[in-house]
Subunit: 362 residues, 4 copies
């Protein structure tokens, strides 16, 4: 009902930031799919913290232990289960987070919903740390999609006021993005890193945009209405902490361009139906049209800034000021890039598993 996703596969994510472990179960996956553990680890490392100057120095190895579902390098049909044990266990005065919620975090809403019983330490189940098991599931789906010739890649589309280039029509760039700092234009990347450093030094934080492309998807994937590709991607992408916006294709131009400028007229290329532009982001009526699926994700600036912030003491009702201690990511956008890819991979793989496309042609 909550930390569970999927119609055909069933993903269930568990754990709290400072609890014993985080992990996931992934049910409904066919047997006989190969699992490349090293490749998965490389994918998880893109998200892992403490690896560079722009992210939190909390070091967690994020090495999943598989408890079921995989045998001799292949899925065995049983649910896949994986855990990552937390090494940084709970400590410090976390009761304070219950009483004096940090602005912009889920501290207050968790307190209202769970009545003080929630695990508040480090954000508990609301922590960005829970994207690690999402990346385990997503990293696996990504591998299986690649086997089918479907590729998913994302890049930082903007941080602060610095933008990156856009994907070309068929998004060939997804195979060449440098995982360390994923941008299309290295010059923009340099400016972004400088911006992040600047924000860090000022005790401030930055949000940004991520653009994701899915290539190689055949036409005809997705279901009408609430089972469309947009709905499925949206449901999971909004499960990523800090994501507050999502749009497909050139939706952002909806206000600036008329129907004449937005249409994607058809032509034929190597016997395939294509469109000249891709304003619709590869999706019409919720169903893929064979062009790359394209979407943009808006990530809000991390609310943990090194400045005093006003809050309310929920026990006394009095206004008070808190200062968030410890070092935090001044910008989580770079680390969120593989998480967006993971979310997209899960959504697409779920749709493919349940695809009801007819085989007969009239």
């Amino acid at each position: 009902m909550s930390s569970t996703y999927g119609e055909n596969l069933k993903l269930s994510i568990f754990g709290q930031s400072h609890g014993p472990a985080i992990g996931m179960t992934l049910d409904g996956i066919p047997a006989g799919l190969p699992v490349d553990v090293e490749k998965l680890q490389a994918f998880l490392n893109r998200r892992a913290p403490g690896q560079n100057d722009w992210s939190t120095p909390r070091k967690e190895e994020d090495k999943p232990e598989f408890l079921g579902g995989i045998l001799d390098g292949y899925t065995c049909g049983a649910p896949i289960a994986a855990v990552i044990y937390n090494k940084n266990t709970r400590s410090g005065d976390y009761e304070n987070l219950k009483n004096c919620p940090r602005p912009g975090h889920a501290d207050y809403t968790a307190q209202v919903k769970y009545g003080g019983f929630q695990d508040a330490a480090g954000g508990g189940h609301f922590s960005g740390r829970l994207t690690a098991p999402l990346c385990i599931a997503g990293g696996l789906c990504k591998q299986w999609l690649e086997e089918m010739g479907i590729h998913i890649g994302a890049h930082i589309f903007g941080i602060g006021d610095v933008g990156d280039d856009k994907f070309d029509l068929y998004a060939p760039q997804i195979h060449e993005i440098d995982p360390e700092f994923p941008v299309l234009n290295k010059k923009s990347g340099k400016k972004m890193r400088w911006k992040i450093k600047e924000a860090y030094e000022e005790g401030d934080s930055l949000g940004g945009l991520i653009q994701c492309a899915i290539t190689g998807l055949p036409a005809g994937i997705g279901e009408p209405m609430f089972g469309g590709v947009e709905s499925k991607i949206a449901q999971i992408v909004y499960g990523i902490p800090a994501v507050k916006g999502l749009w497909f294709g050139e939706a952002i131009k909806a206000i600036g361009v008329s129907g004449r400028g937005f249409r994607d007229e058809y032509f034929v290329e190597n016997g395939q139906i294509r469109t000249y532009g891709n304003n619709n982001g590869g999706i019409l009526g919720g169903i893929t049209n064979g062009m790359p699926v394209l979407f943009c994700v808006a990530v809000k600036p991390t609310p943990s800034i090194a400045k005093p912030q006003q809050t309310v003491n929920l026990q006394t009702g009095e206004i008070t000021t808190i200062e968030v201690k410890g070092r935090h990511d001044p910008c989580i956008v770079p680390r969120a890039v593989p998480v967006v890819e993971a979310a997209a991979a899960i959504a697409i793989y779920d749709l493919i598993l349940g695809n009801t496309q007819t085989d007969r042609r009239k």
Copy 2:
């Protein structure tokens, strides 16, 4: 799997644009809820076509006939079922839409997915006409939410390059929006109507933005991760044809504002916890914080423009040109406003039905 929505309520929408009828079943609704049929009809009329100069002249009364679930003005616990019979039945050469798909519509993707068996007439199940049963379900949920003091209102936030005002902090304007042409600023409304008229005369079309507010929601509604308010609203809103973008609060500023500018610090007002701003759109960690839930929807320009458009004859593989006949809405944004409200009402009512908030307080 497709035209079905909900965890606690189960909405199922059926029908094709030129089939015998469109309709919906809505299961899981408690007994004893009052149903105001006149109020529902007034709500449906806001979406109905043919009522003014900026929408398609196809006249359908859109009067639902209830087949079950309602007795003597109250829900009776059985699933609610309603149909609207189509009076404008199928005619004309719709086979052509299968062979020569209209750019920007679902004609091509439906042809690939359904192999020619789909009901192509008027877009079939992909037609905007299917938002009428969505509005039946949503109009009912809206009434039941209002009984709890929860109100939902939306306005046109922009059409072409003309913008409307934004909602104030507590969105009191939702009670005063003129349903005929829903804007906050009447002057902007006038300009928008002029823009639509202009586009119509040029055989062009316009997209736009819709801003929606939900007020009166208590804090604590929503589930973590994939069951959050954002995920639930996104899944259903992306089921509305022509919607290509959605963001919450001020997500669109994610790239322009730093953490310092985005934070929503807490204060107390009449014993209630409030935030000074509402950048997060009333949602933190997927859960409501007691501020109005705010979101923006991007609607693409109608692809049916009165210009020749290039397409491919799927049988011959040859490029050809089609001209979409008949009059169509030059801009569906005004009619989409109640549809967005309906979608939001269904999502919120579903969340409230399944709310697992604890009653004990620590």
Copy 3:
């Protein structure tokens, strides 16, 4: 959540016994499947009332009107929707059923659950009449399964103390059962009809057993644990009013036979793996083994007997006596036979749609 079934297909049933109509929507069905309306009608007629001497004389034609999902004799990919309008509309003093619930019916439980708002007339949503839309959905699934070589047939296995023969190992009899009074042994059938007549004349009623076989199912259908064939069939079969028991294969012998007598050893027949017996009813670990799936359903005696019965007036709390007026089926088992087939067809078709069987062999 209630009148909704299915993982891959989504069946939603609506209507009340004396409401405007009963009907169903069936979503998730692939396009291009042929629909034989005459064959469906013949199937529905097996369930319809008023056709013979042992069932209620209420005559309803039970002719479904399709509102969507079918075009030119084929499924079109959109949800299938069908209604049957009720011709015998509400009348009489049904308020009495709310106050003085009939023993053995859902009158009392509906009153408690729906607080008096329920549609009590004729049992409302709990009426056996709701099995008509179940038979629409099931009759369609049955046709599509037959196209794949999968056949479903059931017979009366016992009424009162009169038993029928059992299916042979491969259940070839399912193709020869007389639909009018479905038994394998005509002599037993005669005795059963006589028993029913006798019960009717005494103002009494009879329950019985139904045995159902599904032949032609390939091995490998079904999912482990809660997604097994037994779980799926059980969930839907228990949705049929008056069903109180269900077992697979020779489960009823569980108490009388030891492991030595219960085993189904393997052999090879025409290159196919078979078992000598079929104690397990064609299912091992929730998954089909290629033998016919066999199950028995226990139907309780109709609680509406022509005798005074003691009940409690819920308003006054006083004990009172009611006599159920009107003629009712003295035994619904014969009419329940196609309903059991319909339920099985829906369950199996749902499992086949979502089958995740691997294609690779190790």
Copy 4:
């Protein structure tokens, strides 16, 4: 889709008999519910193997390690996750099980479905060992139900040809059943144990019946049709390996008793509506009527008997004979008793979480 259960709570079970671990995640549970770990362990011990003379000597401590969802003795709102690490790891020639499937086990169906990729060791995901995580989830739900005054108890109703007493009308016995060998009549229990010993010595096995009662349930729980108490219990109970039959109340008498003998007439006791008998097992129309919910489960004799059994070598297609080595339970019925209680607890708690009972009374 498979090893996942629940509408309001979401249970996901993972693991294989000889894999690294078995476990479960349980999502959708409200915060603030107390967790008594010792009581849970006592419950799990009732199922654990190797504790007495009639069960397999494989010793596993079955001590769950909680990885999330519980904090300071209370649920914290996050998904509950628990694992039990397997100490008896894989060994021996299990490839043989793939080639020469044991009759009556899931070896053959798993081989067909998973194409040889399945974890065949010890039955893999189909092993009875997977009922341990089911008992973790069920043991927790049982505690929370007890807090509401709802109690669940089961006893061996029959083994071989030895039967036990039946529950009395209000099933007060559930509080007095000896967990070691759960019967109502100690003399019957003695005979059963002797029967099991006898079967063991003969290298044979026995099945049996389990009767379960749920007391203290208020009237009005359950949803109509496929969401009824019978459907919900059936779906999960059929997920228990070796269960092949299930019936409610006195369904087994459906063939022997007429409507006159089956009716449950109403009376008033201490201001509560009651029925004189409980033929319907506390459920009418899928909804509880305030009487104890009663059901019987048929467990087949363990197929692992110490006799040569005929099977087919799937690689060569030749008939061969296998002898199942190692000691196995000659009768799993005693150990299945807490598993049935666990399954019932999960089903009932799920129904209570989603109960849509109206509060207004007409």
